[in-house]
Symmetry: C2
Subunit: 220 residues, 2 copies
């Protein structure tokens, strides 16, 4: 295999934590690229991402051999490889259902655009927010869901409806052809096994903080 020219996803199950870290490495590599850094090391990437150099090497090893011994990694190349691993060399238009406060915050979230994600449709079951505009996007009634998903070839749905409505909206998105769902509602949803569902629970992050505040002394 020619070093660093092909990316092969092994059949081994890749831990989700590895994927999250790759996403963090790619952010750091893009930062280096912007500052015209040409080569880097696992040590530098590790420092930038807050992990160990061994972890960086182990995470990358899932996807082939990168870098050259004694020289390190070419920033531009490695950045491109990780973007391809994460699928970021393609467009992933997404739709969002739930045009309340959280939905409108996400529809306008700067972080999505920075990473190349575009929300192409915002929907609500409630007629109230329908017609509202978030930037260039107009909130549409649910009747237009299938049309937008088909026209824009959308595979990703984002759910920001209240807990009680999450399951119904999840099913509705799957019916309309959605393959992967990011669920921001504090309610776990059950969908067919071939649908990739990720549940975002903000309080998990707070619990990492309270653990750290708390563990500054022994717990009795």
């Amino acid at each position: 295999m020619v070093r660093g020219t092909r990316v092969i996803v092994k059949t081994t199950k890749i831990p989700e934590a590895t994927i999250m870290r790759l996403a963090v490495y790619s952010r750091f590599l893009e930062h280096l690229r912007k500052h015209d850094t040409v080569t880097t090391s696992s040590g530098t990437i590790a420092e930038g991402a807050g992990v160990t150099p061994a972890q960086v090497r182990k995470d990358l090893a899932y996807f082939g051999e990168f870098g050259t011994r004694g020289v390190g990694y070419n920033v531009e190349e490695l950045c491109g490889h990780i973007r391809r691993i994460l699928g970021l060399n393609k467009k992933w238009p997404s739709v969002l259902v739930g045009a309340g406060k959280l939905g409108s915050a996400l529809a306008l979230y700067e972080g999505f655009n920075i990473r190349g994600f575009h929300i192409v449709g915002v929907f609500d079951v409630d007629p109230d927010p329908v017609g509202n505009r978030f930037g260039s996007i107009k909130v549409l009634p649910m009747e237009y869901l299938d049309e937008v998903i088909e026209k824009e070839q959308v595979q990703i749905g984002i759910i920001t409806v209240p807990a009680v409505a999450a399951q119904d909206v999840g099913e509705r998105l799957v019916e309309a052809g959605i393959k992967a769902i990011l669920n921001f509602s504090p309610h776990v949803i059950n969908l067919p096994v071939d649908i990739i569902v990720r549940h975002v629970d903000f309080s998990l992050h707070l619990e990492v903080l309270t653990f750290n505040l708390n563990s500054r002394r022994t717990i009795k």
Copy 2:
């Protein structure tokens, strides 16, 4: 050591992924408790949390010995232990700075209340949202920050301001006595090393989805 009666945080560095998983296990254990389940196994917890039984045992082993061989874990007890490990047996009032769309969504986020987190103050640098109400909380100008933090003994700050303002707000919170920060702004902030900072980047979650959608076939 009497089994399961004391929780000791070893001096070993606990991986952050372990803490995140403990938070997930505790959610599942609470679900079991609500359904009057008395004992459970690492296999059942693993299934509920989407990990392997070995992972559950390894994560718990950082904090002592729990459960009884051949019997399993007492749901109520294990739930209590994990809550104590995460510091959830204490109150952690928090303040939020940035009363825009995301800030107001978080101030009203059902998921925080479910886990016992309470936002005791919402602040904004902009006079526009000052005076608005989110449930029982009124948005206050920044001048009241120190007073609320001192009075309510707040250690946690949540930042939901635009990227350009994040660093300033972070420094302001630290000056006011905040020890841990959850940063929702898509801008990394630099603060003294003794301050615990956690950066929430919604697009990381989307990248886990695109990785999974993409890796359904080999990447060339």
